[in-house]
Symmetry: C2
Subunit: 251 residues, 2 copies
DNA sequence: AATTCGAATATTAGATCACAATTTATGATC
DNA sequence: GATCATAAATTGTGATCTAATATTCGAATT
């Protein structure tokens, strides 16, 4: 019987009364209470996709915690997770940075994205339902609206949602996490594709994907995926976005 | 299992127990101080490979911290990392468990292990040096010694070292982490291959790998890798180690 | 002026505390 | 003896807190 608990039942202490969160209503539906860590994790992930973090940039846990209105702990854990997923990187200094890109690394990322996402799409094709197709269709429309209005965040978010809704339908617990890691590694660069004057964000391949699902055409869907990935990569290469060797985010 | 930690429990609280690490100067310019988190992470990883964790088993952070003679923090961070790498899994309960295996999952793991490790080996083949080959040779001998003496931990540790020394030589920062994740997911099951009466741990494929490196034969090395992976998987399947559908470790 | 040194500051890793939510154990009632 | 309510112990999460380390920046010396 370890007696360590002071048993200070004093409710009024409010030693921690910081935010005085509203009485946490007991989750009306089924969704469990979303932990702060989870929220931070999602926000950072989105941020990586949306250009909030520049390659080479060092990130400060404290600044992030402040910006996200929370303490260090949730940020620490979220960042740690993202480090494990290769979205961030720790220097020998112990400071955390957004990894840089090299031509070889991009080639590898593209190669394996094609492989893994192609396979996931094929599996999804086998499981396709009308609901899935409808959802993808809706997402694609929303994305194209975003393109029209040049809403970067909207477009990238929809694009990610589109792809992962598809991959999730593969029901592969092996593929999806691997793909997610690859996306995170490309994330900060994907953003730059938006600085392009000649828009590469047409939905040609997305439409092709939806068609392939309707026709349950494995070859077609794999082809569409591969081209989708490759097109983006080619643009990034052509724009010489990262021929730089060292990490230099002077801006 | 109750008391191992009492000894360490030494009330050193207020003083933080200061390891009294050697006066950490600039540490001679080589290995930096090995953080506790890192140590815990390595121990857990090894534990997963060595049968210390059974599939379906729930792990308690506090118990682990006690067993590893440290506080919650390093354990939390190490576990979080391993969750991100799919070595552990969080239930909606928020409790952490060792993921279960299914036939489909195994098939996928084997398929992608073959792909990724095969490719990494081919790349390593292009970078092969005499030093690498010597090192692999030594590791293989040490492993076979372990087999002779039925030292499970030794063998599995050497085997892992053998493979990752090879993959590391690919110099691919994309492949290696993905492969590591796949290994961790298979880890708790790989252990069971040792309960086999008919030893499958001969070094046929390892020798083939070393030969291929000497001959710089890409096809041969990929072939050896694929067979190495496949052989283990076949044994696991034949032993019906996980035909169970749900995660039910009633015992 | 440039380099070096050292105080001031910031940041990380680890420990501990507090709390809510479970899970487990216990006791009362039928 | 079985069912259910309540109490006790565990557990994950979040928040501080401290010591160690790294970084910055301003003198003082060369």
């Amino acid at each position: 019987m370890t007696k360590l608990s002071k048993a200070n039942n004093s409710k009024s202490t409010t030693l921690r009364a910081t935010k005085t969160k509203s009485p946490v209503k007991k989750s009306a539906g089924k969704t469990r209470a979303p932990s702060i860590q989870e929220r931070v994790y999602d926000e950072l992930k989105l941020g990586l996709m949306v250009g909030a973090f520049l390659p080479g940039q060092t990130v400060s846990l404290r600044k992030l915690a402040e910006k996200l209105n929370t303490s260090l702990m949730p940020v620490r854990e979220a960042i740690n997770r993202l480090i494990a997923e290769r979205a961030f990187e720790v220097l020998p200094n112990r400071s955390v940075i957004v990894p840089d890109m090299s031509r070889e690394k991009l080639d590898e990322l593209v190669h394996w994205r094609s492989m893994l996402e192609g396979e996931a799409a094929v599996k999804a094709c086998a499981n396709a339902t009308p609901e899935l197709i409808d959802r993808l269709h809706a997402l694609n429309i929303e994305m194209m609206d975003g393109v029209q209005e040049r809403k970067v965040r909207r477009v990238l978010s929809c694009n990610k949602e589109f792809h992962f809704t598809l991959y999730q339908a593969s029901r592969s617990t092996v593929l999806v996490p691997m793909i997610e890691s690859l996306w995170l590694q490309m994330g900060p660069f994907t953003f730059f594709s938006f600085l392009s004057p000649d828009l590469i964000w047409n939905s040609t391949f997305h439409i092709q994907i939806i068609e392939a699902l309707q026709e349950r055409d494995s070859d077609k869907i794999r082809d569409a995926i591969v081209h989708d990935v490759q097109t983006l990569a080619e643009y990034l290469v052509d724009s010489h976005m990262f021929d730089n060797v060292g990490p230099r985010p002077i801006a």
